[in-house]
C-alpha cells in the first residue's frame, strides 16, 4: 500500500533523508522511531503530499505521490506536531471546518462528525472552544480533524510528545480502534518504549534506516546477553564494571545496572571483581533487551 524507494531530501547543506526504502503492505501500526533531527517529520510530510522530495519514488495505494502530491491528500490524514486548531471555534466547528477543507459532502459531514465525537469521547465537549481544552483533548480534536475525510492511511507526527502516560495510553486505544476499522497508521515518536507497541518499527537516525522489523525481529538482532544487577552500592559497582569493560556495555539506573555482555563467562569474571571489592550482589537476572538497547547497538555498527 505504501512503497518508497530511494527517498532523498536536503535542506541547505543538511541531507535530512539519505535514501529511504520502505514497503508497508498490510494494515498495521507502523512506528518511525528516532531522536530529533532523524528525519521523521520530513518523511511524514513528504508522504502527506505537502513537501516534495529531491529524489525517489513513492507509491501510495497505486498513486504516484511524487508526480501528483495532491492525490496523497485524498488517501492520507496527516496530524502535524503542532496541530493548527482554531482556538476560538468550538470542537464541532473545528471538525466541520476541516470537513469543508477536505471537500467532504455536506450530506455525509453530519454523520461523520457524530461518529468522530463518539469515538474520541469528545461528545460532551463539542460546544467548548478549542482554546479551552486540555492538552490531551486538543490532541484528540486534532486527530478527529485529520480523520474527517475517512482517510485510508493516517500519518501522525509525534502525537505523544509532551503528553503524560495516561493520555498517551488513551491515544493508543484510539489507534487500536482505527486499526480495527481498517486504517493503516504511520506514527513517529522519539520514545523507544512507545514504539514497542507498534506492529512494525523503523529506527531512523540522521536520515538513514538503522534497523527495521517487528519487535521480535529487532530483539533477535541483539547480539549480547543483557543482565540486570542490583548491588548494595550501585555506583561503586558501576565504576568497577566501567573499569573492566568500558562504558559502552553498562548503564546505571537509580537502583540497578544493565550489563550487555558477550558470554556467561564474562559475567562470572565480573562477579569476582565485584566480590573482591567487597560489594554484595542482591540480584542478577538475564533480561530481554528493549528497543533502546537495540538502537544503541545498531548505532555502534553504523559508525
Amino acid at each position: 500500500m505504501i512503497e518508497i524507494k530511494g527517498l532523498k531530501k536536503k535542506f541547505g547543506d543538511n541531507q535530512t533523508l539519505c535514501g529511504i526504502d520502505l514497503t508497508v503492505d498490510s494494515d498495521i501500526i507502523f512506528a518511525i522511531v528516532g531522536p530529533d533531527g532523524a528525519g521523521k517529520t520530513t518523511l511524514l510530510r513528504i508522504l502527506a503530499g505537502i513537501m516534495r522530495p529531491d529524489d525517489g519514488l513513492i507509491n501510495i495505494l497505486g498513486h504516484d505521490i511524487v508526480k501528483n502530491p495532491e492525490s496523497a491528500k485524498r488517501y492520507t490524514g496527516y496530524l502535524s506536531q503542532r496541530f493548527s486548531l482554531n482556538p476560538t471555534l468550538t470542537v464541532a466547528e473545528n471538525i466541520d471546518f476541516f470537513g469543508t477543507l477536505y471537500e467532504v459532502p455536506k450530506s455525509r459531514k453530519e454523520d461523520r462528525l457524530k461518529r468522530l465525537l463518539e469515538f474520541s469521547r469528545l461528545g460532551p465537549f463539542k460546544d467548548r472552544q478549542a482554546g479551552k481544552l486540555s492538552g490531551g483533548m486538543k490532541q484528540k480534536l486534532a486527530l478527529c480533524c485529520a480523520l474527517i475525510h475517512t482517510p485510508r492511511i493516517l500519518l501522525l507526527d509525534e502525537p505523544t510528545t509532551g503528553v503524560d502516560p495516561i493520555s498517551r495510553r488513551e491515544l493508543w486505544e484510539i489507534l487500536y480502534d482505527l486499526l480495527a476499522q481498517g486504517v493503516m497508521i504511520l506514527v513517529s515518536t522519539p520514545y523507544m518504549d512507545e514504539a514497542e507497541r507498534a506492529g512494525e518499527i523503523m529506527m531512523l537516525h540522521r536520515g538513514k534506516t538503522l534497523a527495521r522489523g517487528n519487535l521480535e525481529d529487532l530483539k533477535s538482532k541483539f547480539h549480547h546477553k543483557l543482565y540486570e544487577m542490583v548491588c548494595d552500592d550501585g555506583r561503586k559497582a558501576f565504576e568497577i564494571i566501567v573499569g573492566q569493560l568500558g562504558d559502552d556495555r553498562v548503564v546505571f539506573f537509580g537502583d540497578r545496572l544493565h550489563l550487555a555482555l558477550d558470554s556467561e563467562q564474562q559475567m562470572l569474571t565480573l562477579k569476582t571483581f565485584i566480590a573482591d571489592a567487597g560489594l554484595k550482589i542482591n540480584s542478577l537476572d538475564q533480561i530481554s533487551p528493549g528497543l533502546e538497547d537495540i538502537f544503541m547497538q545498531e548505532l555502534l555498527y553504523a559508525k
Binding site: 531522536p35 507497541r197 537509580g254 548505532l299
Partner: protein, 320 residues
C-alpha cells in the same frame, strides 16, 4: 553510599506546602525530604502541579502556607539566596542559537554574577564537561542536539548550584547521548549536587533514586523505581501470545470491562488483569477459536505503575 539519613544530609525539606491561585489549589499540602546527592524524580499528569512546585523550590514564587528549607535556607525568607544555589535546565535549553557555546556560557556567567576569574575557570570547566572545548567557537545552532543539551547543562551548573532542576532533560536526544548525559548527572550527584527531574519519559524516570508521583497537587506515592514496580500494582500484567494475535487482541478488547485494559507490544498482548483467575482468559480465547501459545504474568513497567497509581484520580476528576 547515599543512604545515610541524618538531618545534615537533607538538601530539600518541605512540610505541608500549599499553593493556591485564585481559589485553585495547585499544590496541596505536600511534605517530603530529599537527601543530598539524591536524584529525585517528579512525575505526574500534565497540570498536576509539578512546575508550580519547582518554581517554589527555585524561589520564584511564594507559597500560600507550609514551610520549606533548601540547604537550610527558608523558602519564605531567603528567596534571593535560594536563587543563587539552584540551577535549572529545561528541554528547551534556553540557549542563544546565534551565539557560540563560549558566548552562551559567558552570558550565563554574567547573569549569575560570577567575577571574571571564577567565570573564566567555570566556562573552561563547562566546555570540557560538555565535550565542547574543540567547538567553543561554532555557532550553537550548528551543534547536534546531544551537544546542545550538554551545553545547557554546563550553563545551569556554571554557578556551582547545590540543587539542580532538570525538566525533561533528554527528550528527543538519541539513546547514546542520553546515556552519556546521565553519566554526567550521576557524577554531579556523586559530588553532592541534589538533582530534581521532572519528566513524562519513563526512561528518564528509571534513572532516579526515588520517584514522587504527583496528581492534582497531592503527593500520591514516593519510592524507588524498583520498589514501585514490585509493590504498587494491584493488577497483574499478563502477557498473552496467540497464533492470530490481532484476532486475540480484538477479542480481548471487547472484554475490557471484565478482564482489564489491553495493549499490544509487537505481537504480544499485555493485559492489566483485573479478574481472579487468568485461566478465564484462556478459556475465553479458546471459545473464540484462538490458539493460545502462552499466557504468563510479566513484571510491570514504570508506565504501568504510573497508570495504575494515577488513573483512579483522573477518573474522579473527569466525572466532577
Amino acid at each position: 553510599m547515599r543512604n545515610k539519613s541524618d538531618s545534615s544530609d537533607i538538601a530539600v525539606s518541605v512540610r505541608n506546602m500549599t499553593k493556591k491561585f485564585d481559589g485553585f489549589t495547585a499544590v496541596d499540602n505536600i511534605s517530603f525530604d530529599v537527601r543530598r546527592g539524591e536524584i529525585f524524580g517528579f512525575l505526574g499528569p500534565n497540570g498536576a502541579g509539578k512546575s508550580t512546585t519547582i518554581r517554589i523550590l527555585c524561589g520564584i514564587i511564594d507559597i500560600t502556607s507550609g514551610e520549606g528549607l533548601i540547604d537550610g535556607h527558608s523558602i519564605l525568607k531567603d528567596q534571593d539566596k535560594i536563587k543563587r544555589i539552584t540551577g535549572y535546565m529545561s528541554q528547551k535549553f534556553s540557549l542563544y542559537e546565534d551565539l557560540t557555546p563560549y558566548e552562551n556560557l559567558e552570558f550565563y556567567g554574567g547573569v549569575y554574577g560570577l567575577d571574571s576569574r571564577t567565570r573564566r575557570s567555570r566556562i573552561e570547566w563547562a566546555l570540557n564537561m560538555s565535550d565542547l572545548a574543540e567547538r567553543s567557537d561554532d555557532l550553537t545552532s550548528d551543534l547536534p542536539v546531544g551537544y546542545k543539551q550538554r551545553l545547557a547543562l554546563g550553563a545551569s551548573l556554571l554557578h556551582e548550584p547545590s540543587i539542580l532542576f532538570l525538566d525533561e532533560p533528554t527528550a528527543g536526544v538519541d539513546p547514546s547521548s542520553r546515556r552519556s548525559f546521565w553519566d554526567l548527572i550521576y557524577r554531579q550527584a556523586q559530588s553532592g549536587v541534589t538533582v530534581f527531574v521532572t519528566t513524562h519519559y519513563m526512561d528518564e524516570a528509571e534513572h532516579c533514586d526515588r520517584i514522587a508521583f504527583i496528581d492534582s497537587g497531592k503527593l500520591i506515592r514516593l519510592d524507588s523505581p524498583g520498589t514501585l514496580k514490585r509493590a504498587d500494582l494491584r493488577e497483574d500484567i499478563i502477557e498473552i501470545m496467540a497464533d492470530d494475535w490481532m484476532k486475540a487482541f480484538n477479542a480481548l478488547r471487547e472484554k475490557k470491562e471484565s478482564f482489564g485494559e489491553v495493549s499490544l507490544f509487537g505481537t504480544r498482548i499485555h493485559l492489566r488483569f483485573t479478574g481472579d483467575d487468568f485461566g478465564d482468559i484462556e478459556s475465553y480465547l479458546i471459545g473464540n477459536n484462538i490458539h493460545v501459545e502462552s499466557i504468563r504474568p510479566v513484571p510491570p513497567s514504570l508506565e504501568d505503575v504510573f497508570v495504575a497509581l494515577l488513573n483512579p484520580y483522573k477518573n474522579t476528576e473527569a466525572s466532577s
